[in-house]
Symmetry: none
Subunit: 200 residues, 4 copies
DNA sequence: GATGAATGAGCATTCATTCAT
DNA sequence: AATGAATGAATGCTCATTCAT
């Protein structure tokens, strides 16, 4: 895995260049947090994350003013990856397939990374930066959806928020529903439901 | 709302009929817990529940030996209601409509009662009683589903666990997705996806 | 075992005759408490005692205003038995043997009944009645000791409080020092120390 | 009194040298605990100890993961002192005098420090470290005893565990038996009992 | 009198966050 | 900048005691 923070100067003040060792620490923390949030969810103590990262708690707090902030930063990484993926798929031939692929992949990731699900479950505690990324994701996703709708592959009576919700729901439930096959079936139902033209 | 404990002698030992005042307290606690779990989730302190119920903490603990136990009791009430509803619907003419009605209602309820969602999200904390009720629900649900499948209204490649999962997911997400219309749209997609014959 | 309360009208108000069933309850409580204090010490919850006695907590409190009071009542029974024994032995031929027998028996009992030890360990929380019994025990014991000293079997430079202390100490330690033999050896040392004429 | 932690790097992990301020706090906590356990026994709330030490509860828990752990640490300090003393005495000319001196001193200390007594009274809560120190004490004590037995100053039919028990018992009782003279008399009896050749 | 439900102060322990080193 | 020690509010739970039934 390459540096998790490639596209930013750091989580707190995005404009002051961090010293090399500081950036290294931010990275270690993010990586540890990623891992531990992914497996244990938000419940994990900060001390544990610091321990795993091999730094002191103070260091964690220097870079992330709050546990929530760290959590969001972790998810941000994933959100960004999703944005990339959505953008990449938005040029595809088959607009329907592109949307369904995206949805499938998203769910598959979330099944493995509990924090993504947790994040999606969070309500109103987003800061601005976060909101921006979420907006980007929404935007990229909307493109995917509209192309699919325009192409007639997806019903017209739903909006992107609806699809997002359905996907989130599936994410939240999928990791409890052991096995890859089960997940696929869930995705299958959702996708078919989207494809279907509304029951008159 | 009528007494929450109509069909049981009390949460702990179903054997000795509770004194009238005790019954009243159990009810007050359950109601407070219901409300507060629904809005705040599992995180609320027991003291808060006791306060809202107008009883001492000790009273809560007398009836529910553990916070988890209280939580489960709260959900049990809902689960039982669901079982009733599922059973009632399983005699309906139109098997497909019955299933879809059940699903819709369930989601509508869960939107208002966040604890149901939380419960469904809980993993391994089931005690036996709990498991039994969940089993009953699963059973009743299965009847509903099979009848719908036999009648050709629902695809054959999914099992009741799948549907349960989809419904749960929708529940979890629906309350964040304000508005009755939005919820209906989600349910619509799910139901159409279930109705659809799998995309080859 | 016959009624534990033969020589009293009840622990609280020694002068109002108790109804038969009340006395029966006092007895049940005392017996349960005896057993449970003996094995678990003072730490046991009152509820547990009530449960074992087959009565409600309220009943326990009706007869014993306080946990301490119950505890003392239990020990009183034992203390009284000790008084009897001491008196019985004070007429014996061999005054030295009588004293040593008493001491041995006392320790042996205490090894089995933790509460006796606990009680002996209690400091200043005795009520009057209690003090009286303790006084009697002290008195009876003093007789035993003086006779042994007069007979030349026990050194003169110690008082009954000293012996009591030594015995208590041995009690407290003896139950941790598994085995009958070990206990005997401890008693042996103490008795020989008492017999010995002080090291000049 | 000098630093309580002279011979150790700290209670938890003997591996990393504690920061000066941390060391100071550990000391304050130990001293407060010592004092308060000595006067009130194990029953004192941790908060009280923290208050007296002038630190927050969290600090106590940082250094001692458990109330029991703190208690043991307190006693450990004393046990270690005893080990030292026993070792120092084991080279003395007069083996009998050495043993009796040790016993006397131990009791005199325990009279003032009730926690020692409490500790000795504890049953099965020994962790390994603790067991080791107790073992050392036993060992050092055994040397003292054997030398005295070989020299003919102490009877042969008892083992070090017996003597320990007798001493403990005396400790437990001695502080209730106010006055230096009384304590001396108790010790006198014990020592004479040990010296005595068993009564046939 | 008996019962056991209710009470609530009390306690051990955790953990996010701050701050001295 | 980094560290990790200190803090203390918060929480789940227990149990002696009181009181309505």
């Amino acid at each position: 895995m390459t540096s998790v923070t490639t596209s930013t100067n750091g989580p707190r003040e995005a404009h002051r260049p961090l010293r090399a060792d500081a950036r290294r620490n931010v990275d270690k923390v993010l990586r540890a947090a990623e891992e531990v949030f992914a497996t244990e969810g938000l419940a994990v103590p900060i001390d544990e994350i610091a321990r795993r990262a091999g730094v002191g708690v103070g260091t964690v707090y220097r870079h992330f003013p709050t546990k929530q902030a760290l959590f969001q930063a972790v998810v941000m990484v994933r959100l960004k990856a999703l944005v990339e993926r959505a953008k990449a798929l938005s040029g595809a031939e088959d607009a329907g397939a592109a949307l369904f692929t995206f949805v499938s992949e998203l769910v598959e990731v979330a099944v493995k990374k509990r924090d993504l699900t947790d994040e999606l479950a969070q309500e109103g505690l987003d800061d601005e930066v976060h909101a921006v990324v979420k907006g980007e994701l929404q935007g990229a996703f909307e493109v995917l959806l509209q192309r699919a709708q325009v192409g007639g592959c997806v019903r017209d009576d739903i909006c992107s928020a609806d699809v997002t919700a359905l996907v989130m729901g599936t994410c939240m439930v999928a990791d409890r529903h052991a096995g890859h096959d089960a997940t696929s079936r869930l995705i299958g139902v959702i996708c078919d439901g989207l494809r279907a033209h509304p029951h008159q």
